[in-house]
Protein backbone atom coordinates (compact mmCIF):
# COMPACT_ATOMS: atom_id res chain seq x y z
CA UNK A 1 0.00 0.00 0.00
CA UNK A 2 1.21 3.45 -0.81
CA UNK A 3 1.87 5.72 2.16
CA UNK A 4 0.72 9.31 2.13
CA UNK A 5 3.42 11.75 1.09
CA UNK A 6 2.92 13.73 4.29
CA UNK A 7 0.95 12.56 7.29
CA UNK A 8 0.53 14.39 10.59
CA UNK A 9 -1.46 12.87 13.41
CA UNK A 10 -2.42 14.70 16.63
CA UNK A 11 0.65 16.89 16.36
CA UNK A 12 1.32 19.36 19.13
CA UNK A 13 4.14 21.86 19.43
CA UNK A 14 4.67 24.24 22.33
CA UNK A 15 7.31 26.95 22.58
CA UNK A 16 8.45 28.09 26.01
CA UNK A 17 7.27 26.67 29.31
CA UNK A 18 4.93 27.53 32.18
CA UNK A 19 2.90 30.71 31.93
CA UNK A 20 4.94 31.98 28.98
CA UNK A 21 4.25 28.89 26.89
CA UNK A 22 2.80 29.43 23.43
CA UNK A 23 0.91 26.61 21.76
CA UNK A 24 2.21 26.86 18.21
CA UNK A 25 0.29 23.81 16.99
CA UNK A 26 -2.52 21.96 18.70
CA UNK A 27 -3.96 18.58 17.63
CA UNK A 28 -3.02 18.97 13.98
CA UNK A 29 -4.08 16.20 11.60
CA UNK A 30 -3.18 16.46 7.97
CA UNK A 31 -2.77 13.98 5.12
CA UNK A 32 -1.35 14.94 1.74
CA UNK A 33 -1.39 12.42 -1.07
CA UNK A 34 1.64 12.07 -3.34
CA UNK A 35 1.91 14.41 -6.29
CA UNK A 36 -0.44 17.03 -4.94
CA UNK A 37 0.12 20.66 -4.08
CA UNK A 38 -1.19 21.65 -0.66
CA UNK A 39 -1.01 25.18 0.70
CA UNK A 40 -1.01 26.25 4.33
CA UNK A 41 -2.62 29.64 4.70
CA UNK A 42 -3.37 31.74 7.74
CA UNK A 43 -2.39 34.89 9.62
CA UNK A 44 0.99 35.18 11.32
CA UNK A 45 1.24 33.09 14.46
CA UNK A 46 -1.04 30.33 13.19
CA UNK A 47 1.85 27.86 13.14
CA UNK A 48 2.08 27.34 9.38
CA UNK A 49 5.84 27.78 9.26
CA UNK A 50 6.20 25.66 12.40
CA UNK A 51 4.26 22.89 10.71
CA UNK A 52 6.58 23.11 7.71
CA UNK A 53 9.67 22.94 9.93
CA UNK A 54 8.28 19.83 11.65
CA UNK A 55 7.82 18.11 8.28
CA UNK A 56 11.34 19.23 7.27
CA UNK A 57 12.74 17.59 10.42
CA UNK A 58 14.21 20.91 11.55
CA UNK A 59 12.29 20.70 14.84
CA UNK A 60 10.73 17.78 16.71
CA UNK A 61 7.04 17.64 17.54
CA UNK A 62 6.15 17.60 21.25
CA UNK A 63 3.37 15.07 20.73
CA UNK A 64 1.83 13.15 17.87
CA UNK A 65 3.54 11.79 14.80
CA UNK A 66 4.92 13.28 11.59
CA UNK A 67 5.57 10.92 8.69
CA UNK A 68 6.98 11.59 5.24
CA UNK A 69 6.34 8.68 2.87
CA UNK A 70 5.86 6.51 5.91
CA UNK A 71 9.12 7.39 7.65
CA UNK A 72 10.19 9.97 10.21
CA UNK A 73 11.28 13.37 8.80
CA UNK A 74 14.93 12.79 9.87
CA UNK A 75 14.99 9.57 7.86
CA UNK A 76 13.40 11.31 4.88
CA UNK A 77 16.09 14.01 5.06
CA UNK A 78 18.84 11.41 5.29
CA UNK A 79 17.47 9.88 2.07
CA UNK A 80 17.14 13.33 0.48
CA UNK A 81 13.42 12.91 -0.10
CA UNK A 82 12.84 16.50 0.93
CA UNK A 83 13.58 19.75 -0.91
CA UNK A 84 13.37 22.93 1.14
CA UNK A 85 12.87 26.46 -0.20
CA UNK A 86 13.04 29.07 2.57
CA UNK A 87 11.61 32.57 2.51
CA UNK A 88 14.95 34.08 1.52
CA UNK A 89 16.77 32.45 -1.40
CA UNK A 90 19.64 31.43 0.90
CA UNK A 91 22.02 30.86 -1.98
CA UNK A 92 25.69 30.61 -1.07
CA UNK A 93 27.04 34.06 -2.01
CA UNK A 94 30.52 32.75 -2.84
CA UNK A 95 29.33 30.23 -5.45
CA UNK A 96 28.08 30.87 -8.99
CA UNK A 97 24.44 30.10 -9.71
CA UNK A 98 25.37 26.83 -11.41
CA UNK A 99 27.56 25.70 -8.50
CA UNK A 100 24.83 26.72 -6.08
CA UNK A 101 22.31 24.42 -7.71
CA UNK A 102 24.71 21.51 -8.26
CA UNK A 103 26.27 21.48 -4.77
CA UNK A 104 23.27 19.71 -3.16
CA UNK A 105 23.76 16.75 -5.49
CA UNK A 106 27.24 16.25 -4.05
CA UNK A 107 26.10 16.57 -0.44
CA UNK A 108 25.18 13.43 1.52
CA UNK A 109 26.19 11.01 -1.20
CA UNK A 110 24.95 8.01 0.75
CA UNK A 111 21.36 9.22 0.35
CA UNK A 112 20.62 7.28 -2.86
CA UNK A 113 21.00 3.92 -1.07
CA UNK A 114 18.82 5.04 1.82
CA UNK A 115 16.27 6.29 -0.67
CA UNK A 116 15.89 2.84 -2.19
CA UNK A 117 15.18 1.36 1.20
CA UNK A 118 12.16 3.55 1.85
CA UNK A 119 9.14 1.38 1.20
CA UNK A 120 7.10 2.74 -1.65
CA UNK A 121 9.92 3.70 -3.99
CA UNK A 122 8.40 1.70 -6.84
CA UNK A 123 5.13 3.57 -6.66
CA UNK A 124 6.88 6.87 -6.31
CA UNK A 125 9.01 6.20 -9.36
CA UNK A 126 6.06 4.98 -11.39
CA UNK A 127 4.12 8.09 -10.47
CA UNK A 128 6.70 10.11 -12.34
CA UNK A 129 7.41 7.69 -15.13
CA UNK A 130 8.52 9.30 -18.34
CA UNK A 131 10.09 12.26 -16.63
CA UNK A 132 13.63 11.90 -17.86
CA UNK A 133 14.24 8.74 -15.83
CA UNK A 134 15.46 8.73 -12.28
CA UNK A 135 18.92 10.12 -12.91
CA UNK A 136 20.47 13.43 -12.03
CA UNK A 137 18.76 16.24 -13.95
CA UNK A 138 20.77 18.51 -16.21
CA UNK A 139 21.01 21.62 -14.06
CA UNK A 140 22.02 23.91 -16.93
CA UNK A 141 18.88 22.82 -18.74
CA UNK A 142 16.73 23.41 -15.66
CA UNK A 143 18.24 26.87 -15.17
CA UNK A 144 17.64 27.69 -18.83
CA UNK A 145 14.04 26.59 -18.45
CA UNK A 146 13.40 29.16 -15.69
CA UNK A 147 15.13 31.91 -17.65
CA UNK A 148 18.50 31.79 -15.89
CA UNK A 149 20.40 30.45 -18.91
CA UNK A 150 22.57 33.58 -19.11
CA UNK A 151 23.12 33.75 -15.38
CA UNK A 152 24.72 30.36 -14.73
CA UNK A 153 28.16 31.81 -14.06
CA UNK A 154 27.02 34.87 -12.15
CA UNK A 155 27.19 35.30 -8.41
CA UNK A 156 23.86 35.46 -6.53
CA UNK A 157 24.50 39.10 -5.58
CA UNK A 158 24.50 39.98 -9.28
CA UNK A 159 20.90 38.75 -9.67
CA UNK A 160 17.61 40.34 -8.74
CA UNK A 161 15.60 38.94 -5.84
CA UNK A 162 13.23 37.14 -8.20
CA UNK A 163 16.07 35.51 -10.12
CA UNK A 164 17.71 34.43 -6.87
CA UNK A 165 14.50 32.79 -5.72
CA UNK A 166 14.22 31.04 -9.12
CA UNK A 167 17.70 29.63 -8.57
CA UNK A 168 16.64 28.48 -5.08
CA UNK A 169 13.68 26.63 -6.59
CA UNK A 170 15.88 25.01 -9.22
CA UNK A 171 18.26 23.97 -6.44
CA UNK A 172 15.41 22.21 -4.65
CA UNK A 173 14.09 20.56 -7.83
CA UNK A 174 17.58 19.42 -8.73
CA UNK A 175 17.40 16.88 -5.92
CA UNK A 176 14.28 15.38 -7.54
CA UNK A 177 12.68 15.50 -4.10
CA UNK A 178 9.58 13.47 -3.35
CA UNK A 179 8.36 16.27 -1.14
CA UNK A 180 9.02 19.95 -1.77
CA UNK A 181 8.56 22.25 1.23
CA UNK A 182 8.26 25.96 0.48
CA UNK A 183 8.08 28.55 3.24
CA UNK A 184 6.55 31.77 1.83
CA UNK A 185 9.09 31.68 -1.01
CA UNK A 186 7.49 34.50 -2.99
CA UNK A 187 6.40 36.81 -0.17
CA UNK A 188 9.31 39.23 -0.62
CA UNK A 189 8.71 39.66 -4.36
CA UNK A 190 6.60 42.16 -6.26
CA UNK A 191 3.33 40.93 -7.72
CA UNK A 192 4.47 40.50 -11.34
CA UNK A 193 7.57 38.58 -10.34
CA UNK A 194 5.50 36.50 -7.96
CA UNK A 195 3.04 35.47 -10.66
CA UNK A 196 5.77 34.57 -13.11
CA UNK A 197 7.48 32.46 -10.45
CA UNK A 198 4.17 30.71 -9.79
CA UNK A 199 4.09 29.90 -13.53
CA UNK A 200 7.53 28.40 -13.36
CA UNK A 201 6.82 26.46 -10.20
CA UNK A 202 3.72 24.96 -11.84
CA UNK A 203 5.69 24.13 -15.00
CA UNK A 204 8.41 22.33 -13.06
CA UNK A 205 5.81 20.60 -10.92
CA UNK A 206 3.82 19.36 -13.92
CA UNK A 207 6.96 17.63 -15.17
CA UNK A 208 8.18 16.26 -11.88
CA UNK A 209 4.84 15.74 -10.11
CA UNK A 210 6.48 16.23 -6.76
CA UNK A 211 4.34 16.61 -3.66
CA UNK A 212 4.43 20.26 -2.65
CA UNK A 213 3.65 21.75 0.75
CA UNK A 214 3.53 25.50 0.33
CA UNK A 215 3.19 28.14 3.05
CA UNK A 216 1.71 31.50 2.09
CA UNK A 217 -0.44 34.32 3.39
CA UNK A 218 -1.61 35.26 -0.09
CA UNK A 219 -5.08 33.92 -0.89
CA UNK A 220 -4.82 34.25 -4.70
CA UNK A 221 -1.50 32.41 -4.64
CA UNK A 222 -2.95 29.62 -2.53
CA UNK A 223 -5.97 29.13 -4.81
CA UNK A 224 -3.93 29.21 -7.99
CA UNK A 225 -1.28 26.72 -6.93
CA UNK A 226 -3.18 24.26 -4.80
CA UNK A 227 -5.13 21.06 -5.02
CA UNK A 228 -5.92 21.63 -1.36
CA UNK A 229 -5.85 24.83 0.66
CA UNK A 230 -5.40 24.20 4.38
CA UNK A 231 -6.82 27.12 6.35
CA UNK A 232 -5.14 27.70 9.71
CA UNK A 233 -5.89 29.97 12.67
CA UNK A 234 -3.76 31.21 15.58
CA UNK A 235 -3.78 30.91 19.37
CA UNK A 236 -3.55 28.04 19.53
CA UNK A 237 -2.22 27.30 16.04
CA UNK A 238 -4.59 24.82 14.43
CA UNK A 239 -6.15 23.69 11.18
CA UNK A 240 -9.63 25.13 10.63
CA UNK A 241 -10.56 23.47 7.40
CA UNK A 242 -9.18 21.97 4.22
CA UNK A 243 -10.66 23.30 0.99
CA UNK A 244 -10.19 21.26 -2.19
CA UNK A 245 -9.69 23.47 -5.24
CA UNK A 246 -11.50 22.00 -8.24
CA UNK A 247 -10.13 24.36 -10.90
CA UNK A 248 -8.77 22.59 -13.98
CA UNK A 249 -5.07 22.47 -14.70
CA UNK A 250 -2.87 23.73 -16.23
CA UNK A 251 -3.62 27.02 -14.54
CA UNK A 252 -1.91 29.80 -16.46
CA UNK A 253 -2.38 33.48 -15.74
CA UNK A 254 -5.88 33.41 -17.27
CA UNK A 255 -7.07 31.53 -14.21
CA UNK A 256 -7.16 34.86 -12.38
CA UNK A 257 -10.04 36.00 -14.61
CA UNK A 258 -12.22 32.97 -14.00
CA UNK A 259 -15.36 33.19 -11.96
CA UNK A 260 -14.61 29.96 -10.08
CA UNK A 261 -11.24 31.31 -9.02
CA UNK A 262 -12.84 34.26 -7.27
CA UNK A 263 -15.47 32.08 -5.64
CA UNK A 264 -12.67 30.03 -4.08
CA UNK A 265 -10.89 33.19 -3.00
CA UNK A 266 -14.06 34.47 -1.29
CA UNK A 267 -14.67 31.12 0.37
CA UNK A 268 -11.17 30.97 1.82
CA UNK A 269 -11.23 34.60 2.88
CA UNK A 270 -14.49 34.01 4.68
CA UNK A 271 -13.09 30.96 6.51
CA UNK A 272 -9.97 32.88 7.50
CA UNK A 273 -11.99 35.76 8.89
CA UNK A 274 -14.53 33.69 10.77
CA UNK A 275 -11.71 31.75 12.43
CA UNK A 276 -10.06 35.06 13.23
CA UNK A 277 -13.20 36.50 14.82
CA UNK A 278 -13.97 33.50 17.01
CA UNK A 279 -10.75 32.24 18.54
CA UNK A 280 -11.06 28.61 19.43
CA UNK A 281 -11.30 28.04 23.18
CA UNK A 282 -9.52 24.71 22.99
Amino acid sequence: MQAAAIELDSVRKVYGAGAAATVALNDVRLTIEPGRIATLIGPSGCGKSTLLRLVAGLEPADAGSVRVHGVAPEEACAAKLIGFVPQTPALLPWLSVLKNVTLPQKINSGAAKRRERIGDLAERTRARAGVGGGGVPDMRELLRKVGLGDAVDKLPSQLSGGMQQRAAIVRAFGLRPDVLLMDEPFSALDEFTRESLQDQLLDLWSEESTTVLFVTHNIAEAVRLSDTVVVMAPSPGRIVESVDIGLPRPRDQRVFEERGFHDYEDLIREKLYSAWRSPDAA
Binding site: C77, A78, V85, P86, A90, L95, P104, S157, R171
Partner: protein, 262 residues
Protein backbone atom coordinates in the same frame (compact mmCIF):
# COMPACT_ATOMS: atom_id res chain seq x y z
CA UNK B 1 33.44 51.93 -6.66
CA UNK B 2 37.12 51.07 -7.00
CA UNK B 3 36.90 51.64 -10.71
CA UNK B 4 36.17 55.34 -10.31
CA UNK B 5 39.26 56.07 -8.21
CA UNK B 6 41.99 56.09 -10.97
CA UNK B 7 40.12 58.82 -12.86
CA UNK B 8 39.66 60.77 -9.65
CA UNK B 9 43.43 61.16 -9.27
CA UNK B 10 43.37 63.76 -12.00
CA UNK B 11 41.51 66.16 -9.74
CA UNK B 12 43.62 68.15 -7.22
CA UNK B 13 40.92 67.76 -4.57
CA UNK B 14 41.74 64.05 -4.60
CA UNK B 15 45.55 64.04 -4.60
CA UNK B 16 46.48 67.38 -3.08
CA UNK B 17 45.48 67.01 0.62
CA UNK B 18 48.04 64.30 1.39
CA UNK B 19 51.14 66.14 0.00
CA UNK B 20 50.01 69.30 1.79
CA UNK B 21 49.80 67.51 5.13
CA UNK B 22 53.13 65.79 4.50
CA UNK B 23 54.75 69.11 3.67
CA UNK B 24 53.36 70.77 6.80
CA UNK B 25 54.43 67.78 8.93
CA UNK B 26 57.93 67.86 7.42
CA UNK B 27 58.18 71.60 8.04
CA UNK B 28 57.14 71.23 11.67
CA UNK B 29 59.64 68.42 12.10
CA UNK B 30 62.50 70.49 10.70
CA UNK B 31 61.52 73.41 12.91
CA UNK B 32 61.41 71.07 15.94
CA UNK B 33 64.77 69.57 14.99
CA UNK B 34 66.21 73.05 14.77
CA UNK B 35 64.99 74.17 18.19
CA UNK B 36 65.32 70.83 20.07
CA UNK B 37 68.25 69.02 18.42
CA UNK B 38 68.48 66.47 21.26
CA UNK B 39 64.93 65.26 20.77
CA UNK B 40 64.49 65.31 17.00
CA UNK B 41 67.20 64.65 14.41
CA UNK B 42 66.88 66.63 11.15
CA UNK B 43 65.22 64.56 8.43
CA UNK B 44 68.39 64.70 6.35
CA UNK B 45 70.31 62.84 9.06
CA UNK B 46 67.69 60.12 9.13
CA UNK B 47 67.90 59.88 5.35
CA UNK B 48 71.71 59.80 5.40
CA UNK B 49 71.68 57.05 8.01
CA UNK B 50 69.24 55.03 5.90
CA UNK B 51 71.11 55.39 2.63
CA UNK B 52 74.56 55.02 4.19
CA UNK B 53 73.74 51.78 6.08
CA UNK B 54 71.00 50.35 3.97
CA UNK B 55 72.23 46.76 4.09
CA UNK B 56 72.52 46.97 7.89
CA UNK B 57 68.91 48.11 8.16
CA UNK B 58 67.68 45.56 5.65
CA UNK B 59 69.45 42.71 7.44
CA UNK B 60 67.82 43.66 10.74
CA UNK B 61 64.49 44.29 9.04
CA UNK B 62 64.72 40.76 7.62
CA UNK B 63 65.20 39.36 11.13
CA UNK B 64 62.21 41.25 12.52
CA UNK B 65 60.03 40.42 9.50
CA UNK B 66 60.96 36.73 9.77
CA UNK B 67 59.95 36.66 13.45
CA UNK B 68 56.70 38.52 12.73
CA UNK B 69 55.70 36.30 9.84
CA UNK B 70 56.67 33.09 11.62
CA UNK B 71 54.69 34.09 14.71
CA UNK B 72 51.71 35.19 12.65
CA UNK B 73 51.76 31.98 10.63
CA UNK B 74 52.01 29.78 13.71
CA UNK B 75 49.18 31.52 15.50
CA UNK B 76 47.06 31.54 12.35
CA UNK B 77 47.26 27.76 12.01
CA UNK B 78 46.78 27.10 15.71
CA UNK B 79 43.95 29.61 16.15
CA UNK B 80 42.11 28.34 13.08
CA UNK B 81 42.25 24.72 14.22
CA UNK B 82 41.15 25.65 17.73
CA UNK B 83 38.34 27.83 16.34
CA UNK B 84 37.01 24.86 14.34
CA UNK B 85 37.16 22.70 17.47
CA UNK B 86 35.39 25.38 19.49
CA UNK B 87 32.67 25.69 16.89
CA UNK B 88 32.16 21.93 16.50
CA UNK B 89 32.56 20.69 20.07
CA UNK B 90 30.48 22.52 22.70
CA UNK B 91 32.59 21.13 25.55
CA UNK B 92 35.72 22.67 24.07
CA UNK B 93 33.87 25.95 23.54
CA UNK B 94 32.82 26.11 27.18
CA UNK B 95 36.33 25.25 28.33
CA UNK B 96 38.31 27.53 26.03
CA UNK B 97 36.19 30.59 25.21
CA UNK B 98 36.24 32.20 28.69
CA UNK B 99 40.00 31.76 28.90
CA UNK B 100 40.42 33.17 25.41
CA UNK B 101 38.34 36.24 26.25
CA UNK B 102 40.33 36.91 29.43
CA UNK B 103 43.70 36.38 27.75
CA UNK B 104 42.61 38.61 24.88
CA UNK B 105 42.33 41.58 27.25
CA UNK B 106 45.44 40.66 29.24
CA UNK B 107 48.47 42.80 28.28
CA UNK B 108 50.58 39.98 26.86
CA UNK B 109 53.59 42.31 26.77
CA UNK B 110 53.95 41.42 30.43
CA UNK B 111 54.74 37.81 29.52
CA UNK B 112 57.65 38.83 27.33
CA UNK B 113 60.34 39.01 30.07
CA UNK B 114 59.32 35.59 31.39
CA UNK B 115 59.63 34.07 27.91
CA UNK B 116 63.01 35.65 27.42
CA UNK B 117 64.17 34.11 30.70
CA UNK B 118 62.80 30.75 29.62
CA UNK B 119 63.95 30.67 25.99
CA UNK B 120 67.01 32.89 25.93
CA UNK B 121 67.95 35.56 23.39
CA UNK B 122 67.45 33.53 20.22
CA UNK B 123 64.45 33.83 17.88
CA UNK B 124 62.22 31.46 19.90
CA UNK B 125 60.82 33.93 22.49
CA UNK B 126 60.22 36.53 19.74
CA UNK B 127 58.23 34.15 17.60
CA UNK B 128 56.27 32.94 20.62
CA UNK B 129 55.43 36.46 21.80
CA UNK B 130 54.35 37.46 18.28
CA UNK B 131 52.20 34.34 18.06
CA UNK B 132 50.58 35.12 21.41
CA UNK B 133 49.81 38.67 20.30
CA UNK B 134 48.09 37.41 17.16
CA UNK B 135 46.40 34.31 18.54
CA UNK B 136 43.30 35.53 20.36
CA UNK B 137 41.93 38.01 17.82
CA UNK B 138 42.15 35.31 15.13
CA UNK B 139 40.63 32.70 17.43
CA UNK B 140 37.70 34.79 18.58
CA UNK B 141 36.85 36.23 15.15
CA UNK B 142 37.05 32.88 13.39
CA UNK B 143 35.02 31.12 16.07
CA UNK B 144 32.28 33.75 15.70
CA UNK B 145 32.45 33.56 11.90
CA UNK B 146 32.06 29.79 11.84
CA UNK B 147 28.82 30.22 13.81
CA UNK B 148 27.46 33.01 11.59
CA UNK B 149 25.87 30.99 8.78
CA UNK B 150 22.39 32.49 8.21
CA UNK B 151 19.71 30.08 9.52
CA UNK B 152 17.84 29.63 6.20
CA UNK B 153 21.08 28.62 4.49
CA UNK B 154 21.73 26.14 7.26
CA UNK B 155 18.18 24.76 7.06
CA UNK B 156 18.41 24.09 3.32
CA UNK B 157 21.44 21.88 3.86
CA UNK B 158 20.13 20.33 7.07
CA UNK B 159 17.11 19.02 5.17
CA UNK B 160 19.59 17.17 2.94
CA UNK B 161 21.26 15.75 6.05
CA UNK B 162 24.61 17.26 5.10
CA UNK B 163 27.29 15.85 7.40
CA UNK B 164 29.08 18.10 9.86
CA UNK B 165 32.18 17.99 7.69
CA UNK B 166 30.13 19.03 4.65
CA UNK B 167 28.53 21.87 6.59
CA UNK B 168 31.97 22.95 7.81
CA UNK B 169 33.60 22.91 4.38
CA UNK B 170 30.74 24.23 2.26
CA UNK B 171 28.99 26.64 4.65
CA UNK B 172 30.91 27.48 7.83
CA UNK B 173 34.44 28.10 6.57
CA UNK B 174 33.38 30.28 3.59
CA UNK B 175 31.08 32.25 5.92
CA UNK B 176 33.96 32.71 8.36
CA UNK B 177 36.39 33.99 5.71
CA UNK B 178 35.40 37.71 5.96
CA UNK B 179 35.70 37.43 9.76
CA UNK B 180 39.10 35.78 9.36
CA UNK B 181 40.35 38.56 7.10
CA UNK B 182 39.04 41.18 9.51
CA UNK B 183 41.15 39.45 12.18
CA UNK B 184 44.19 39.43 9.89
CA UNK B 185 43.84 43.18 9.38
CA UNK B 186 43.96 43.63 13.16
CA UNK B 187 46.73 41.14 13.73
CA UNK B 188 49.16 41.94 10.92
CA UNK B 189 50.38 45.22 12.51
CA UNK B 190 50.32 43.44 15.88
CA UNK B 191 52.73 40.81 14.57
CA UNK B 192 55.38 43.44 13.93
CA UNK B 193 54.65 45.07 17.28
CA UNK B 194 55.06 41.66 18.92
CA UNK B 195 58.42 41.02 17.30
CA UNK B 196 59.74 44.50 18.18
CA UNK B 197 58.51 44.30 21.79
CA UNK B 198 60.25 40.97 22.19
CA UNK B 199 63.49 42.35 20.74
CA UNK B 200 63.31 45.39 23.03
CA UNK B 201 62.73 43.14 26.03
CA UNK B 202 65.57 40.78 25.22
CA UNK B 203 68.05 43.63 25.28
CA UNK B 204 71.01 41.43 24.45
CA UNK B 205 69.51 40.23 21.17
CA UNK B 206 71.85 40.05 18.23
CA UNK B 207 69.46 41.20 15.55
CA UNK B 208 66.20 42.83 14.62
CA UNK B 209 65.06 46.44 14.36
CA UNK B 210 63.90 46.34 17.99
CA UNK B 211 67.44 45.76 19.19
CA UNK B 212 68.74 48.33 16.70
CA UNK B 213 66.38 50.84 18.32
CA UNK B 214 67.27 49.94 21.89
CA UNK B 215 71.02 50.03 21.23
CA UNK B 216 70.86 53.31 19.25
CA UNK B 217 68.59 54.94 21.83
CA UNK B 218 70.97 54.08 24.63
CA UNK B 219 73.75 55.80 22.66
CA UNK B 220 71.60 58.81 21.74
CA UNK B 221 71.75 58.07 18.00
CA UNK B 222 68.29 59.40 17.33
CA UNK B 223 68.69 59.40 13.55
CA UNK B 224 69.19 55.63 13.69
CA UNK B 225 66.14 55.20 15.92
CA UNK B 226 63.91 57.10 13.51
CA UNK B 227 65.36 55.34 10.49
CA UNK B 228 64.52 51.99 12.11
CA UNK B 229 61.02 53.21 12.95
CA UNK B 230 60.57 54.30 9.33
CA UNK B 231 61.59 50.84 8.12
CA UNK B 232 59.15 49.24 10.58
CA UNK B 233 56.35 51.37 9.15
CA UNK B 234 57.28 50.26 5.64
CA UNK B 235 57.25 46.62 6.78
CA UNK B 236 53.79 47.08 8.28
CA UNK B 237 52.48 48.65 5.08
CA UNK B 238 53.93 45.83 2.98
CA UNK B 239 52.33 43.14 5.14
CA UNK B 240 48.99 44.97 5.03
CA UNK B 241 49.22 45.20 1.25
CA UNK B 242 49.68 41.44 1.06
CA UNK B 243 46.66 40.88 3.31
CA UNK B 244 44.56 43.32 1.28
CA UNK B 245 45.57 41.66 -1.95
CA UNK B 246 44.75 38.19 -0.61
CA UNK B 247 41.43 39.46 0.70
CA UNK B 248 40.50 40.94 -2.68
CA UNK B 249 41.27 37.62 -4.33
CA UNK B 250 39.53 35.41 -1.80
CA UNK B 251 36.51 37.58 -1.09
CA UNK B 252 35.56 38.86 -4.51
CA UNK B 253 32.03 37.54 -3.86
CA UNK B 254 31.89 39.35 -0.56
CA UNK B 255 32.94 42.67 -2.03
CA UNK B 256 30.35 42.45 -4.79
CA UNK B 257 27.58 41.66 -2.33
CA UNK B 258 28.72 44.57 -0.16
CA UNK B 259 28.69 46.88 -3.18
CA UNK B 260 25.13 45.89 -3.85
CA UNK B 261 24.08 46.59 -0.28
CA UNK B 262 25.40 50.15 -0.51
Amino acid sequence: MRRRVPLGWIRPAIWLPLPVVLAIGGGLWQWGAHSLPYLLPPLSWVFDSLSGHLSYYLRNAGTTLGEAVAGLGMSFVAAFILAVLISEVPVVRRAVMPIAVVLNVTPLVAIAPVLVVAFGFGPAPKVIITALFCFFPILINTAIGLRSVPPPMMQVYQTMKASRLELLVHLRIPTALPFLFAALRIVTPLSITGAVVAELTASGSVGGLGSVISVAASMNQLAVVYAAIFILAVLGVLLMLIVTFAERRALRWHESSADRAN
